[in-house]
């Protein structure tokens, strides 16, 4: 394997296939995502978007296929090892640690995902938690139980928790689903501001105007295969993408 040079992609997925019994959920997917890119992942329901995310974050084992992150083959690694190397994600249906407060959710990330020695004192840890929460607009909710959060607050909490792991790559799995249009803009602005801070972001989304506004590059999956990849306009104009989405 070649060492990671400046032009090497942050994430390289090679010939990745995932089957559930006889059902092929992902069929020979190969894609490279360069450092700092805002990458949109679209496709109709059941096209394999979340399965691909599970394979990148390590929740699913790939068979066959490789996932190379920052020049290192991470295919055999468990999810927590991948998180420590810099891959963070949110979930399609929010999965907060529901017995904890918002701040405690983030402290889990600080305790386990960051390198020992990053934080020397308890005060430094709380500062770090509070600065992330402030950025996410959740500072007033720090000591509130996650069971009392609204939908948009839960989405932001998940992004905040992902951010607390200090990711190089952040995967947002439909963080805007079910939100009002003003809330969609709010979350989108947050993601754009994170992308401005050297975090590579993969965004899965059904809301097209959000995808168009956010992405520098878009990939469309259908039935486990890549049917289009490239600039957002080109992908949207692609007849196969329109067919997959509109069924015409």
């Amino acid at each position: 394997m070649t060492p990671a040079g400046p032009e090497a992609p942050l994430l390289r997925i090679g010939a990745l296939t995932k089957k559930f019994g006889g059902f092929v959920a992902l069929d020979n997917i190969s894609v490279e995502i360069p450092l700092g890119q805002r990458f949109g992942l679209i496709g109709p329901n059941g096209s394999g978007k979340t399965t691909l995310i599970h394979c990148i974050s390590g929740a699913f084992r790939t068979e066959p296929g490789t996932v190379v992150f920052a020049g290192e083959d991470i295919t055999p690694l468990a999810p927590h090892m991948r998180t420590r190397r810099g891959i963070a994600r949110s979930f399609q249906i929010p999965r907060p640690f529901k017995s904890m407060t918002v701040a405690e959710n983030l402290k889990v990330a600080l305790d386990f995902a960051t390198v020992a020695g990053d934080f020397t004192s308890v005060a430094e840890r709380s500062d770090s938690v509070m600065s992330i929460l402030t950025r996410m607009g959740l500072a007033s909710k720090a000591n509130v139980s996650t069971t009392k959060l609204s939908q948009v607050e839960l989405r932001k909490m998940e992004l905040a928790r992902a951010l607390a792991t200090r990711p190089k790559l952040l995967i947002s799995d439909e963080a805007m689903a079910g939100l009002s249009s003003s809330e969609v803009d709010e979350v989108l602005d947050l993601l754009l501001s994170l992308a401005g801070q050297d975090i590579t972001i993969i965004m899965i989304e059904h809301i097209m105007q959000a995808v168009m506004r956010f992405s520098q590059r878009v990939m469309c999956l259908d039935a486990g295969k890549i049917i289009a990849i490239g600039a957002p306009d080109e992908v949207m104009a692609n007849p196969r993408v329109q067919e997959a989405y509109l069924g015409t």
Binding site: T83, M100, D111, T165
Partner: protein, 319 residues
Amino acid sequence: MNRSSLPFWIGVSVFLLAAALMTQLISNEYPFFAIYGILQFVVLAVAWSILGGYAGYVNFGTSAFFGVGVYTAVFLSKALGAPLAAQIAAAAIVGAFLGFAVGLITLRMQGIFFSIATIALTIIIETTVTNWRFVGGAAGVQLQRPPVLPLFNSYVAMLFFVQAMLVVVAIAVARYIQISWIGRGLQALKDDELAAECTGVPTLRLKVMACVISGALMCAAGAPAAMYLQYADPSSAFNLNYSVSVLAMSLIGGTSHWSGPVIGAVLLGTTQQLLTVTISSEVNVLVLGVMLVLFVVAAPEGIIGLIRRARGARAGGEA
């Protein structure tokens, strides 16, 4: 030591001092005999809740670990005439290894499948011991107590004090786990295992660690039981009653705080003792069952949950 730990250590010292004083002032053996049983349940319940409470992995194998502790002591005293302290230390080590093996094999299973596997473990180990002639097989084995240390009036009083020290060790360990990063990790994986992994928590390693610590404490708690009864047989050492009682004590006390299983074990252990003496030993099983049902329905977070709710309501009322 930080400030919040001070009341805990003062409490622990007072408890040990009171136990030591009791052994000097009371000459009747019965109180020691009765309280020993309760203390033993405190250690078992606190140990159980490290895996069953903090991590949410319900272990029905308490009796397996307890029985292995009993038989480690039996084996060492028969084969080598080892002293009590060596029996307990050895039982803790054996328990840690057993916890490690069980953890590696079974903790990949989630939820109810893990629980079923732990029941199977109890049966396998009990069958093995039943067929092991050296430690008495199915008929059990009689044991001769060695002379008691000169500090104590009777052997039972000494065992009582030893079990009191084990209580202190168990709650100190459980408390440390609860307030440290280990506790936070276990709580996270209890809430959501995949989310915990994706937040960097090494879930399998933490679960195995909890199983090792819990197993070591349970085996250590079982070791003095051989000398306490001067007799051991597989069907009572591996009695499923231990598993059920300990689970009920932890759940009734509440598992989100180390003091929950202590409260549960003291409450139920005392009730059981009273019922056994006054009515019959069969009734206490009935009472245990009824209390468990009541708590699961009315207070799923146990007594600790009730206390927290009452405090929350009071704080809310003042605000």
